[in-house]
Symmetry: C2
Subunit: 407 residues, 2 copies
Amino acid sequence: MSNNPADQQYTTRIADLPGTEVVFGVGAEEKLPYLLKKNHVKSLLFVYSGDYVNELGIRQKVLDTAKELGISVIENGEVQVNPRLELVHTLIEQAREHDVDFVIAAGGGSAFDTGKAVALGKNYDGDVWDFYTHKRTEPEHQVLGVGTISTIPGTSSEVSFASVITNGHIKGGAAPIAIKPTFTIINPEYSRTAPYRYLAAATVDMIVHNLEKYFTPNAPLALVDQLEENVFRAEYDAAIRFAKNPESLQARTDLHWLSAYVNPQLRSADATGPRYSIHEGVIHAIEHALSGVYDIIHGEGNAAVLIALVRYEASRNPEKFAKLAVRVFGADPYLNTEEENALLLADKLEDLIVNHLHVPIRLSEQGVPNDDFEEVLDQIGGGIGYPLGHYTNLSREDVKALLKSAY
Amino acid sequence: MSNNPADQQYTTRIADLPGTEVVFGVGAEEKLPYLLKKNHVKSLLFVYSGDYVNELGIRQKVLDTAKELGISVIENGEVQVNPRLELVHTLIEQAREHDVDFVIAAGGGSAFDTGKAVALGKNYDGDVWDFYTHKRTEPEHQVLGVGTISTIPGTSSEVSFASVITNGHIKGGAAPIAIKPTFTIINPEYSRTAPYRYLAAATVDMIVHNLEKYFTPNAPLALVDQLEENVFRAEYDAAIRFAKNPESLQARTDLHWLSAYVNPQLRSADATGPRYSIHEGVIHAIEHALSGVYDIIHGEGNAAVLIALVRYEASRNPEKFAKLAVRVFGADPYLNTEEENALLLADKLEDLIVNHLHVPIRLSEQGVPNDDFEEVLDQIGGGIGYPLGHYTNLSREDVKALLKSAY
């Protein structure tokens, strides 16, 4: 090590990011036989959510391919939004009975969450829920391989090692490296028929994934903030193009590509330094508690919390919000105060989300029945705990005020 | 497909990008036992270039780990800059004798080129050179796995499926997906003792990899140009910080991270569309012929060709160069002509390369003995052929004039 003081402050930790084979493009599913052979699959669990996986021909493709290759299959199409531990338990039992050695999950984030949970739990002696309540982190047992077939862009869950499951009251998150998908198949035609409401919400989710990493203390690598700003700019433009013309293959291809390639790489930048921890996923932490209690749409909840957070922090902690407004939206750092520029960012985000994407940002419009948030606040407290965020530093009272302002 | 005309013009091809497990950070080599076990390695070929791999302790780490795990090893440390087919042939013979099933290459681009070539050739019936002369593209035989240990940032070869080999006269390039490394180990401390000249040249190489994709026709994804501009901005800043303080771990970590994560992801963006082909790697195509004939340092040759190309094209084809100058350097599109702005870009690049990085941009300073480029021009003609580039569209006479201007 040098005697350079910057170096001495600069500690990296070792980041191990296994690769996911990304097969991308119209017709990408034609690579499925190759991918199953390559992974020596003998006994497959196929999980998906909704009839659309059937209508898109994905189910038939998976079943036909398995038959061709002599792979046995069990399947389940009952995954729902905010996926359930109960279903995970059932599928783990079935996977054990059928000696499943690989999982394919098709659909959006919920199908991937479920598939990853089963892959994690199948060979685990205890209850897989342990990994979702931080009793266990990295597994010592053999985790099954997972392949994803993505029908909606946004979460990056198609390539990430995150899985979020609810037990009906509490949403738990697991992130062991071993559940990172072995491959993902992304055919941007698949999202053509997805309901607009889900596509728009997932687009907001993608932007929140990027921004909540930006609303954090100094980056370990000097260029990370800069890249995140510019990816935000690209996401902002792509979101507007998509909202204008949701049918456009090009617009949705941009979103799929950002979700599969760009956002996850930025997350890996954070993985090389101490900056990003679960405590910096502030918006997701609040939203997971919200949708754990009220079963609202994840991307919509994120939209509400994002706008409320920026406005709430504008007077307390404006720097990073103002910086984004100055760098991306050309806000004037001389004419305006930091607070004014942070509020300008909130206005810009609200304009994008409400006026362009038509996503509601009031919790009262999203299915939250009242503005008593005690159960939500308890869940955050019992989960990752307060204060929330090394940059934002939100107490329970802060989160309460923030949620009330979003109602 | 929709009836949207933009969609009908918009054809994607299926891009299959296998993952590379990236282990990144100071001490990353501690993951080597895990990586070798995971890949079921039994018989290893270890190739590297130069004593520094020994001095950094990498050789000992590889040999000790292999011993611990009962893996047999053959090793060769004779890889040189502009790596040779002759050595590849020798190593393929040895690999066959010892039933090698995995290759580890340590060092910079040349070691990786060599390791990939051996992995490609070991089970191939014919001469591996076939893949470097476009007689063969995707192999049908089993290609060995490759792991890389990177001691210098820049080429992205640590994670890419490119390999460039010279037979002493001609440099050939192979890019079958199967040689994409299974894993890479990147410890930014390793580059601390690398000679400044090579580090600076590799930094230019990284920037050229990014820019030559930008100097191309319209991107298939609307956001690709925008991301490339912003990555260029990050690379430009990182290069200046590195040049000011080559000892700084943070500056070199930024470069390693751009090389391993960011640049290759942008390349995968291009892989999703028809834009980027070997004909768009114009600067590399010219430089590979140059260093094939004259054995100059690849990154230095790239620096010379880059500056000469921008100046040469400024009057013929200024748009993309001017666009970069306007967007990144704030050049004025109203006050200046396109040509003036393209020339402004050349000045900015020259300032970065010559004044900050201290890389020579005259071929006469780089080891090219005279300005008769006929052999170089023949090689380009016999290789990918003229005209060069769908955007730049350079004839043999154009390349000749360009090279003479760089002498």
